[in-house]
């Protein structure tokens, strides 16, 4: 689509703000001034003051010569930034893409916006009327490029709208300053007798560059639309967002469900075309009383399966309080990842860990039982049993090293080793019998010891001597002795696991 830009110029931004606050200043000539090297320098002048020839940059003493009744107010630093920021956010009603053009303007990307207000002229007059209502004087311009809109807003003599593709002719009668160039360059143009753009636009580019520099050429080309120009919007536009305004406020659960389903269908269709999947999704419900209720879901694996996403939302729907009714639903995909569907095998309904149905099942578990409900383990390069495994961060993460098979490990391990009473010959023989939970186990076969040292750089503590033992009944246990035998203290024996 053809781009259209609107430039707004608040020529008395700061003084207008003072007038809004103190309506008595409306007719009084006044200036804002700041102290600089022991004198007061004017930073902004109100309309009546300007009519008397008082300009920005003058010293207050000089201005008083022209107009003895001049009122002088303190300049507030940072005021224009704050005002422009507020105005830009307010102006999002006219276009979703609003940027600040410091120190006294705003730029809209109005592509496809004007027809909603009944055409370019009506669009601009609405903007002017609404901002006048807030007490601000402004000039506007509309064109295909930011540069042309800027120029026409500030220096235009006739219509504020430049018709599509007409910027090169519309710019001709404007002064060189309308190209957003430095004051010094502007003066050089006037010195050379070039008072309008048409005086130099047909000159060879190479001589223009030699005399006025590359920056000037770039500005000229941007205004003519030969070079792209980018703007920084005040509110970043959500890429994956769907809105559903409702004619009547929604109060019932079935109404919310229908709205959510419609939004999901639209969003998923779009994601499918772009081969993306959702990781985090948020539903904002704007209520009649201006409250916004937000519920969000997350998935473990990118998904664009509407039914599945709806199921995840289903548990959270009861938390929405419609009160007097919801008038706008906004579904926003906060986190989106690339998602190329894997090829499924017809003859075998198994896709291992890549299976989307598995990911969906885990999403449902996560939704119901909390994020920490499923674990997948990978081997870690530690001998200490508790540290020999680590949690994998994702479903697909492959193991970096092999699972060790050279030392026996029990299939069941107790979360905390349980103390047992043992009869064992010294120095390093396995126990002959042990008592656990009141039951005596006579040991028939045993392997060991396998000494595992603490990793001192991680934790301090005693080493463990592990024994695999089997009792008379054939039950197999994993026992360990903590530390060396010592005459002074009791040596602890523990049961740590059960072999299959």
């Amino acid at each position: 689509m053809k781009k259209r830009f609107v430039a707004l110029w608040f020529h008395h931004l700061e003084t207008d703000w003072f007038i809004v606050r103190q309506p008595a200043l409306q007719t009084v000539p006044f200036v804002l001034a700041v102290k600089d090297h022991g004198r007061l320098v004017i930073t902004a002048a109100s309309n009546p003051a300007e009519e008397q020839g008082i300009k920005k940059g003058m010293v207050v003493a000089d201005a008083r010569m022209l107009l003895p009744s001049l009122e002088v107010l303190d300049h507030i630093p940072g005021l224009y930034e704050k005002l422009l920021g507020k105005l830009a956010e307010w102006c999002i009603r006219f276009s979703p893409y609003v940027a600040i053009d410091a120190p006294d303007g705003l730029i809209f990307d109005a592509s496809g916006c004007a027809h909603l207000w009944g055409g370019d002229i009506d669009y601009l007059s609405t903007i002017i009327k609404r901002l006048h209502g807030r007490g601000y004087q402004l000039r506007v311009g509309m064109a295909d490029t930011i540069g042309a809109a800027w120029a026409i807003a500030r220096y235009g003599r006739s219509s504020p709208v430049i018709e599509p593709d007409m910027q090169s002719t519309a710019l001709l009668p404007l002064p060189p300053a309308s190209l957003r160039i430095e004051q010094e360059l502007v003066e050089r143009f006037y010195k050379l007798g070039l008072h309008q753009i048409q005086d130099f636009i047909s000159m060879p580019r190479s001589s223009l560059r030699r005399r006025f520099g590359q920056a000037f050429l770039q500005r000229l080309h941007q205004a003519l639309g030969m070079e792209p120009e980018y703007m920084q919007p005040v509110q970043p536009v959500e890429l994956y967002q769907e809105r559903l305004p409702c004619l009547e406020p929604i109060v019932t659960r079935s109404g919310i469900e229908i709205a959510l389903q419609q939004l999901l269908e639209k969003l998923c269709k779009r994601l499918e075309q772009e081969e993306k999947g959702i990781r985090t999704l948020r539903l904002h419900c704007h209520r009649v009383d201006d409250a916004i209720i937000t519920i969000s879901i997350g998935t473990n694996f990118p998904s664009r399966h509407g039914e599945h996403l709806f199921k995840l939302f289903e548990n959270k729907l009861p938390t929405i309080e419609p009160a007097l009714g919801i008038e706008l639903f906004v579904l926003e995909a906060v986190k989106v990842e690339n998602h190329v569907p894997i090829q499924e095998k017809l003859w075998e309904k198994r896709n291992g860990l890549q299976d989307t149905r598995l990911a969906e099942l885990l999403d449902r578990f996560t939704d119901r039982f909390g994020a920490n409900c499923f674990h997948r383990y990978l081997p870690d390069a530690h001998y200490w049993p508790e540290r020999s495994i680590r949690l994998s961060t994702s479903l697909q993460e492959p193991p970096t090293n092999n699972w060790r098979m050279d030392l026996p490990r029990p299939i069941h391990v107790l979360a905390h080793p349980q103390p047992i009473q043992v009869t064992a010959p010294i120095p390093d023989y396995p126990p002959m019998l042990f008592r656990y939970k009141g039951r005596l186990h006579k040991i028939v076969k045993a392997d060991g010891p396998e000494r595992i040292e603490q990793e001192w750089w991680l934790t301090a503590g005693e080493h463990r001597d592990y024994y695999c033992v089997e009792d008379e009944a054939g039950q197999r246990f994993w026992l360990f002795r903590s530390g060396h035998y010592d005459a002074e203290k009791m040596v602890g024996w523990f049961l740590h696991g059960f072999f299959a």
Partner: protein, 243 residues
């Protein structure tokens, strides 16, 4: 009985078995589960996949033995990229030990929940999902209604379900296809050496629909099940103990 009659009976048996829950799982044609001497207990001498197997557990030692036995069966089921969900509250499986049963522990996803109600719900949801190799559920209780629901779920999805039933009176009737009890028995020494050997279990098949229940002592050695009494003939080529 004359020849045509027995043919008719065999034909009818073939039709009845699927109705009783003996269905083939997805991709099962590639998988052969060899339980050694226990095979004879099942109709068609095939371990029933896509069904509910219930394991009675009375002590922590029995639970470890049962986990080992299930892990050994999983080694067949998890060939070809299969994924297993192990659902429990208060899990004590040590994943590295599963590698000794010839399975990749990283292809098992452990679902750790807080109470039995959550476990029952999760097991049912998991069993409904086509494409899993197996689902293992650690239950404290299993009544008839619950088991019926689970059996119906697997008949549709053809996932094999293993339920560890640790309830006090676990002899209640329920709808599972097989009921097992596994207890540890002294291991088989490796090369006549002292110390622990290959794991051995007393496998009791208490109930099997349309099969012959029985009791066997079997060992897991060299990636397969072997009857304990004829292990001496075997020459171990894989000199590794199993955990």
């Amino acid at each position: 009985m004359n020849q045509p009659n027995s043919d008719i009976i065999r034909q009818l048996q073939h039709e009845i078995l699927p109705l009783q829950g003996y269905r083939s799982a997805w991709g099962e044609s590639f998988i052969k589960i060899d339980l050694g001497p226990v095979n004879a207990a099942f109709p068609n001498a095939r371990f029933p996949v896509g069904a509910i197997h219930e394991f009675m557990v009375n002590s922590p030692e029995e639970k470890a033995a049962t986990s080992g036995f299930i892990a050994a069966i999983l080694s067949f089921l998890m060939q070809r990229e299969g994924v297993v969900l192990w659902i429990s509250a208060g899990r004590n499986i040590f994943p590295p030990a599963l590698a000794f049963f010839n399975i990749d522990p990283h292809r098992i996803i452990f679902i750790d929940l807080h109470n039995q109600k959550q476990v029952s719900w999760a097991v049912e949801e998991a069993l409904k999902l086509q494409g899993l190799a197996a689902v293992i559920g650690d239950l404290r209780e299993l009544d008839f209604t619950a088991s019926r629901r689970l059996q119906l779920a697997v008949e549709k999805s053809r996932v094999t379900g293993f339920l560890l039933n640790a309830s006090r009176n676990n002899s209640n009737t329920n709808a599972s296809l097989c009921r097992w009890q596994i207890s540890p028995v002294p291991s088989i020494p490796i090369d006549e050496l002292p110390g622990l050997g290959y794991p051995c279990w007393q496998v009791k098949l208490l109930k099997v629909r349309n099969g012959r229940p029985g009791s066997w002592e079997i060992a897991w050695m060299n990636k397969q099940f072997v009857a304990k009494h004829n292990t001496r003939i075997m020459i171990p080529e894989w000199h590794k103990k199993t955990g």
